[in-house]
């Protein structure tokens, strides 16, 4: 097959093939994350600061590279022949066609053991369920915050400064403990217990500034981890830098990337509180203003209604009614009067008919005695010389009685006849 070029095979350029191999290596999951133990040889540092060395055992050797940025972080400078553990990823150096380990961590073999320990403990505690346990929640407004750290550490100052700025209402209880060295784990455990025993503590901050794996080792101690879990108050961890994860971080109730962040996560920010209170004040003012405007409008409506319902209105209405009634009564009275007047006229007419005046107009006369106005109906009532008053149709005149004539027949005739009354008038 190899003789027939062009049938499913190709001729590679060297760099092209190198690139292909690099891709293969870099895509490999295992080679991406390698812990490699070996003996250090050929250790050198280049002018720009990159570090090159070889790790080897009895049968094989592999070139290792630590770029400047990684090299600067290395806390350990190996000597020739030291047993070391390196962590990194495998790739190929094209210019020489050599496979290399590009490292991000280099530790003495003993510390390599530390890592192994770390991983074993981590896995064991995780399998035990300590990482998944229900987390205790932090109060929104902590009154007392316990802090476990070294009293001389910068981490403590970071935490206190942050709390002072954000939430000076808090009271801080510092339980001092060494945070590195052999005694550190037991001191940390004691400090945690001392704080946790206090009823008033709302949360415990377990903090330490950045350091090497060894320096942070106390926070990977199983006793510390179990003490954190055993606390009834919530524990916030802030150990090292963002990239450092310790066992204490895995089991704590809240993991903060740094001590400062631990303080920030443990207490509210007064700036936000003030802002919220200010917003609430505005809200309340707006609400009450709205209510007052509404109430004012309702009041106006009510006043209007009141005016409508007011007795004054009723009085006015009644007064009008009364006026109308008076007017009507007046009119009806007038009508009655008219009726009466009409009736009177009729009565008058009839009276006219009945009146003796009509008789007088026909020539009769009424004679009264002067002295007592008595009507003279008999001769005997009058003596000669008596003054008389004679009423005729259109008036009255005075007369004097003469001697009695005793013509009773005539007088009787006067009573009986109707025609000659004029002749019989007594003059």
């Amino acid at each position: 097959m190899t003789r027939f070029l062009g049938l499913g095979t190709k001729t590679w350029a060297v760099s092209e093939l190198m690139e292909y191999i690099r891709q293969l290596l870099e895509d490999d999951v295992v080679l991406h994350d390698v812990w490699l133990a070996g003996e250090v040889s050929n250790f050198s540092r280049s002018a720009p600061g990159h570090v090159y060395f070889t790790l080897k055992d009895a049968q094989a050797a592999l070139g290792c590279v630590a770029w400047r940025t990684v090299a600067a972080r290395l806390t350990w400078q190996p000597a020739l022949g030291d047993a070391a553990v390196a962590h990194g990823s495998i790739s190929i150096y094209g210019a020489r066609g050599t496979v290399q380990l590009y490292i991000d961590q280099l530790l003495p073999a003993g510390q390599g053991d530390l890592y192994a320990q770390f991983e074993r403990l981590r896995d064991r505690l995780r399998d035990e369920g300590l990482f998944d346990r229900e987390r205790r929640s932090l109060p929104e407004f902590p009154r007392v915050l316990g802090i476990v750290t070294s009293p001389r550490a910068a981490a403590l100052q970071d935490v206190l400064r942050t709390l002072e700025r954000r939430y000076p209402l808090a009271r801080v209880l510092l339980a001092p403990a060494m945070v590195q060295g052999e005694q550190a784990p037991l001191q940390i455990v004691a400090a945690l217990r001392a704080l946790d025993a206090r009823e008033e503590v709302d949360a415990i901050l377990l903090v330490r500034g950045g350091g090497s794996l060894e320096e942070l080792w106390a926070f990977n101690d199983e006793r510390v981890a179990r003490a954190v879990v055993a606390c009834r108050h919530p524990v916030v961890t802030g150990v090292g830098h963002e990239t450092d994860f310790t066992i204490a971080d895995f089991v704590s109730d809240l993991r903060a990337p740094t001590p400062t962040a631990a303080a920030e996560l443990s207490a509210p920010d007064q700036a936000e509180i003030r802002q919220r209170i200010g917003a609430w004040q505005g809200q309340m003012e707006w609400r009450i203003g709205q209510r007052l405007v509404e109430a004012g409008q309702a009041l106006q409506r009510q006043m209007h209604n009141l005016q409508l319902a007011s007795p004054r209105a009723r009085i006015d209405a009644r007064r009008q009614q009364a006026d109308e009634m008076i007017l009507r009564a007046g009119r009806s009275l007038f009508h009655t009067l008219e009726l009466w007047q009409a009736g009177l006229a009729g009565v008058e007419a009839r009276l006219q008919v009945l009146s003796p005046l009509a008789t007088l107009e026909r020539g009769y006369a009424i004679v009264r005695r002067e002295e007592d106005s008595a009507i003279v109906a008999s001769v005997g009532q009058v003596s000669a010389g008596d003054g008389l008053r004679v009423r005729v149709g259109d008036g009255e005149f005075a007369a004097v009685a003469g001697p009695s004539l005793k013509e009773t027949k005539v007088a009787q005739a006067t009573h009986g006849g109707a025609d000659d009354a004029g002749d019989r008038a007594i003059v």
Binding site: P168, L169, L173, A175, I273, I288
Partner: protein, 66 residues
């Protein structure tokens, strides 16, 4: 002692929060709303004063305790 302001801050804050919520619900009579408003203003002032006066207090546990 300032220790008294600690619980009272949270209490005042919570009460303020509840008062605002009550006013927002809008089912108060005018008298109740006015009373709630006055109370809210008082609580807000108390909260702010508590923050203004607060100073972080740090106490170290004695050797025997830690």
């Amino acid at each position: 002692m300032t220790q008294e302001t600690e619980p009272s801050f949270e209490e005042a804050y919570r009460e303020l929060e509840a008062t605002v919520r009550r006013m927002e619900a809008g089912d108060l009579t005018l008298e109740e709303a006015l009373a709630a408003y006055e109370k809210g203003v008082r609580l807000a002032r108390r909260c702010q004063a508590a923050l203004d006066e607060a100073q972080l207090r740090v106490q170290q546990l004695s050797e025997g305790e830690a």
